[in-house]
Amino acid sequence: MSFKDKLLSSYIALEDYLEFDSPLHDVRSNAIKIFEEKGFPTKKEEDWKYTSLNSLLKPDYSVFSNKEKHVELQDVRKYFLHEIDTYKLVFVDGVYSSFLSETTHDTLDVCLMSAAMNKSKYKPVIEAYFNKVAKSDSLTALNTAFTKEGAYIHIPAHKEVEKPIEIINFSTGNEAAMFLQPRNLIVVGENAHVQIIERHQSLSSNAVLTNSVTEIFAEKRAYVDYYKIQNDVETASLIDNTYISQERDTVCRVHTFSFGGNLVRNNLNYYQNGEHCDSTLKGITILKGKQHVDHNTLVHHKSPNCESHQDYKGLYGESSIGVFNGKILVDKDAQKIDAYQQNDNILIDDKATINAKPQLEIFADDVKCSHGCTIGQFDEDALFYLRSRGIGIKEARALLMYAFANTVLESVKIPELKVRINKLIANKIGVSLGFEH
């Protein structure tokens, strides 16, 4: 039985537990139809030209976790941003862990998707926002059909959230191979501010495949600052689908740090529905071994007078593969757009590969759109300069790598997180230099 067939039959099993009269039922059954029709994407599809899912679909994944496994705080504490106080939403094998989490209903809602879907109190929000911005590609549809658990965050108007919110998905490896599908819904009300950190972490070397969907809605003048930390073990793969809907005068920033995992595919989509939106997409990718990271971004400028800034840096070692596929789409009526995209890559070793496809599709004439893409190596002169001052080759390279990635790092607004990422970078490059400011 193929994995697709297994998922289709699992859906039938899941259906028994769901309420038939729920409005979500139609959404689910439409979604599973889309998945049934399209199946998993193949390399024949333009968007998946450089990334094949074939090897990921081979293991016999468990779709629902049967056994629960307890996770001790001391074992996982290092994965939290423990230096500061945060709200936490922790899921273990797709199941909410109240023991590790710290939620709230006090003025703002930081709670569970499962709770939000079943309580009538949240019904208007779910009806207004759920699956409203997500695309109907097969992987997103698959997630929609199986929506069960995830983070539900609702920030009311004019609320500035006083501390960051962490969303952490652990997988314990209690099944030989686990397929996880977290579904997050984040609604940020008018003039509200929020910072969110998202992380996927496997605690064993058993295979994990995560197909995550996050929908973010930013209402007028909202401010969303989102960080994705991808530093998983080498047997864990992630397909992350994020959809951001921006109303007027909003600022939405997403930083993606991809250091770990086997195969990571980031589908990051921005839709600017109102004027004066500002979208920022930044990322640092540092890979080794046979890792494969694919960044697929879309910024859809639907309204005039908006901006978007993209900056992705990649360092590819050993036989790793990097893909960057960035698209800026400007509608006919979206005049006075300032869209910028930069993608710089360094191949460190002979067998590393980079495939880049920065696209512009522009239908409005009064715009300023540009993209730049470079692939190169370390500047020999700079390396020599450092070495002539007594810095070892490894450290000199590390310094240059750090400098290369710094344009992305410097815009991280949570200081403790910045320190944490600095450490991750140093660790990944294999030096003990402290890059603290």
Partner: protein, 481 residues
């Protein structure tokens, strides 16, 4: 009177195709339709040897198994391949020894195209092969070239006179089954140019081919094969026009360039097929496969000015096989009204120290769509490969679109690749700056568009640069001074 961009837009919308006349030359046209018999008949008509007929049939059989590609960013009604006549030749007299024997009406056509051959003979020193409705009607300057050992003739003549050369190289750069239209061309090509430059020879003059579709209901399928032997140099020009017709005419050409060790080929195109009327009716479908291969230290440079055709689908490419070889691509594509262009290049770096440069300028006006699509691929052995790409788009009016689809693939850590693209319109501040200095808006727009395309126009041979500027002028009438 104040000249604004709206006026320019209006002028662009109302301007008509200047080369839209039809020459009344009696021609020998095949009935419409395509099957093995038609392929055989074309081959027979051209008195081709058996191997050529087989080669065509083989291509035809491949073609039957292939599907029309759909990945382009263009939308059009697919041509009905059974409604096209695959062979049309001017009837009068198939070959001419001197210009005096040429049908006077044909000569008149050339005059109207602005290519008075007498004049060119004297002044420009351009040797020219004219292909009307797929058949080569005149090759000037043949004698001068023969003295140098340069072979420049129609490809059907070359099949007769130099079968070994044709047999050895035909289909080596663009194989028969390369793509749908290349396979079709391989099966039914009726003529084209053949050129061979011997070792160490520097071709003393620009070689040139002029293509024209004259007859209604015909497709033009020409095939160009250009071989530059070791350390030789040639500059080759190609121009195209067609009469205005309501139906869509198909042009599916294949161009193959072979640059051997140390050779240099400069290939320039000014493409001005009929673009259709201002409502998007009629016009030529220009689906062309152009590719060159560079051996050691060789260089191929493509320069193109694309102003015509209803739909253009064309990617002149370089395979940089030999070490130290160089590929260049300079392009200006202008689209107006309902024109659609999906054009760009492929640079495949195989050899060490290979270099490539891509400069692409797109100008879209009216309701047109202009796309750049390019591939830069660095293979694992291409140490120190270097690429620089720049794609700039200029939008005039808010009903048109400009798109960029670059693909960049690197498998070598010593490669250095840079790509940049911008999209903008003519800045109000730029025009203001000119106005302030006493330059009226019309002149200012001309100045800015000229400046925008300068990097590419500069690469054209002198005689062509003038024609290209004239074309830009026509395509964006009122904007270029």
């Amino acid at each position: 009177m104040k000249y604004t961009e709206d006026d320019l837009k209006k002028e662009l919308e109302t301007k008509e195709y200047e080369y839209g006349f039809y020459t009344d030359i009696e021609s020998d046209t095949f009935p419409v339709g395509l099957n093995e018999d038609v392929v055989r008949a074309i081959s027979k008509k051209k008195e081709e040897p058996e191997w050529m007929t087989e080669w065509r049939l083989e291509s035809f059989r491949y073609w039957l198994t292939m599907e029309e590609p759909e990945w382009g960013n263009v939308h059009y009604e697919k041509p009905d391949f059974q409604a096209i006549s695959y062979y049309s030749a001017p009837n009068s007299k198939p070959k001419y020894d001197s210009l005096d024997e040429v049908d006077p009406e044909l000569l008149d056509t050339f005059k109207r195209l602005g290519i008075s051959m007498d004049e060119q003979k004297k002044l420009a020193g351009v040797a020219m092969d004219v292909v009307i409705d797929s058949v080569s009607v005149a090759t000037t300057f043949k004698k001068n070239l023969e003295e140098k050992g340069i072979i420049f003739m129609s490809i059907s003549e070359a099949i007769q006179k130099h079968p070994d050369l044709v047999k050895k190289y035909l289909g080596t750069v663009v194989p028969q089954r390369d793509n749908f239209y290349a396979a079709l061309n391989s099966a039914v090509f009726s003529d084209g140019s053949f050129c061979y430059i011997p070792k160490g020879v520097r071709c003393p003059m620009e070689l040139s081919t002029y293509f024209r579709i004259n007859q209604a209901g015909t497709g033009q399928f020409e095939r160009t094969l250009l071989i530059a032997d070791e350390d030789s140099y040639v500059s080759y020009l190609e121009g195209c026009t067609a009469p205005s017709r309501d139906e869509n005419q198909l042009h599916a050409a294949v161009v193959e360039l072979i640059a051997m060790d140390g050779a240099e080929i400069k290939y320039s195109t000014v493409q001005n097929w009929y673009p259709g009327d201002k409502n998007g009716k009629g016009g030529v479908y220009n689906f062309v496969t152009k590719r060159g291969i560079c051996e050691k230290n060789a260089k191929i440079s493509w320069t193109q000015v694309e102003t015509g055709s209803a739909v253009t689908w064309k990617y002149p490419s370089c395979i940089l096989k030999g070490d130290n070889s160089i590929g260049e691509f300079y392009s200006i594509a202008v689209t107006n009204d309902y024109q659609q262009a999906d054009t760009g290049t492929k640079m495949i770096h195989i050899g060490k120290n290979t270099r490539s440069t891509i400069i692409s300028k797109g100008i879209s006006a009216g309701k047109s769509q202009n796309s750049y699509r390019g591939l830069v691929r660095i293979l694992p052995n291409a140490d120190n490969a270097r690429n620089f790409s720049q794609c700039d788009s200029l939008l005039m009016g808010n009903a048109c679109g400009a798109h960029t689809f670059p693909y960049i693939e690197s498998k070598n850590k010593t490669a250095q690749i840079e790509h940049e693209a911008t999209t903008s319109k003519i800045g109000e501040d730029q025009i203001f700056y000119c106005n302030q200095r006493g330059i009226n808006t019309e002149k200012a727009i001309a100045l800015i568009v000229n400046g925008f395309g300068k990097e590419v126009l500069n690469k054209l041979p002198m005689e062509f640069a003038i024609e290209a500027q004239k074309l830009l002028e026509i395509s964006l009438e009122g904007s270029v001074g």
